[in-house]
Amino acid sequence: MGGYLVTLATLISIQAIAACGLNVIVGYAGQISLGHAAFFGIGAYAAALLGTQAGFSFWTALPLAVALTAGVGLLLGAPSLRVREDFLAITTIGINFIVEAVFNNVEFFGGALGIGNIPRIRAFGGPVGGAGMLALCLGFLGLVVAACAGLVRCWAGLACFALREEETAAAGIGISPVRFKLLAFVIGSAMAGLGGALYAHYMRFIGAGDFAFPLSVSMLTMVVVGGIGTLWGPVLGAALIGLLPEVFRPLIDYRMLFYTTLLLLMIRFQPGGLLGDEGLARRLLRKAIPGGRR
């Protein structure tokens, strides 16, 4: 694989990690979020600051960055999840703008200059290079998908699904809506934080603009296109959304228009996403593997 493809695949797997986190919030627990990039950014800034200011290695900084992002998710989620649907969407957009503004304006976070010279990840006594970094990101993506698969099978996952489907009925059978919405929010934020930490160490330079609202929109597009609430949907979505702008390079200036159109088309024609129950990819899979998964 050429260097360009490795770079592309690495960025896609990093975004897929964050998109899986968003899927836990939006797809599993049914809570809309249009501010996921904020948590991706918090993970990135935490890892960057720990790597540059505190001199921590990636491996020490990573759990701290993930825990910090999850903590901020808990802190911001508690008041946000009191509102529902469109109000929640607006609240999460607000979170995104505030977090971006803080990164952009507070000296501690590097201000408009961002943070540079973030050290490379080191493993086995040397810096991790292109292919190694891709393997590392894919490994983490595998862990995240496995965690999602585990969540779907456990009681907490069932509680999240029940909330997504019928909140009143769920409360009426003893499921705490607040607790499990928060749980989904914290897990989703933690995954965003993991993706962000990898992003910071991969790019080695980050600025507030990297985590602006458009990234939240494109992450939501990944989840919706791939298949909201499915296991592999966000990964497929991240791959498609990551690849398409490369294929249509000349149209790069119109990519927000493209995402929005794609989102609307998906909602109109494939509301469950490509891997959803009636999705295109799911139908093709069914044809390819007769008698396979439903």
């Binding site: 069932l158 009426g172 059978i173 003893g174 705490s176």
Partner: protein
């Protein structure tokens, strides 16, 4: 008393849906709450569970004051809701709906046994375990909602407008199941209904609500025979 409601007042903003309603239910009783649309029946039921804004009054369940607990904790205390229009989890399978009903019981062998017993009670759910609940008919969804509420073996079943949207024959079947659960298993049931005749037929006592206040409380047989009430509420 299993459930004692005193002076319950429910208001949505400035609109008062229920003003000072009291109600009691003894263990093993099946009690109906009747009234026209907008009389406050559902507000009473949802108020007991804390799912609507309660502005005053006291709720005691199994001797404990539950008026300040969040809805899910009230449910955990041993009451389960069968919501209006069933509200099954549509994209979850029948088995997952029933599993969700076991919430809080953990890996309890008795729960498995209970599910088997419920499948005997609701044979239409048999063999449909892996089917999404949305693919069931209205009547089947209503039965699934009752089964989901019963998996945890609750002390009190709160049933909201179970006959709504069901054709009469199916509604009769559902009432029959509720009557049987009450008679044979001693399940306590608070039944909120518009179909007064059918619910009185299986109830021991009844309350009648009118514009948020209680206008009758007494035995079901007395209500069935009172000509004035009959004219007003039973449409006879």
């Amino acid at each position: 008393m299993l459930l004692e409601v005193e002076d319950l007042t429910v208001a949505y903003g400035d609109i008062r849906a229920l003003s000072g309603v009291s109600l009691a239910l003894a263990p093993g009783e099946l009690v109906s709450v009747l009234g026209a649309n907008g009389a406050g029946k559902t507000s009473l039921l949802m108020g007991i569970l804390g799912l609507v804004p309660v502005r005053g009054g006291r709720i005691r369940f199994r001797g404990a004051d539950i008026g300040r607990l969040p809805p899910w904790r009230r449910a955990r205390a041993g009451m389960r809701l069968v919501p209006e229009r069933a509200r099954v989890f549509p994209r979850l399978t029948v088995a997952e709906n029933l599993k969700a009903g076991r919430w809080g019981l953990g890996r309890n062998g008795r729960a498995e046994e209970r599910v088997r017993h419920l499948l005997d009670l609701f044979p239409v759910l048999r063999g449909r375990a892996s089917q999404p609940a949305a693919t069931l008919s209205g009547g089947e969804q209503q039965q699934l909602a009752i089964a989901r509420a019963l998996v945890s073996d609750p002390a009190l079943l709160l049933v909201d407008e179970v006959s709504m949207g069901l054709m009469p024959k199916l509604a009769d079947e559902v009432f029959e199941v509720l009557a049987r659960l009450n008679r044979q298993e001693g399940l306590s049931i608070l039944l909120v209904e518009q179909n007064a005749a059918a619910s009185l037929a299986i109830s021991q006592r009844a309350y009648v609500l009118e514009t948020g206040a209680c206008v009758f409380a007494g035995s079901a047989s007395r209500l069935r025979e009172d000509p004035r009430l009959k004219a007003a509420y039973l449409g006879a």
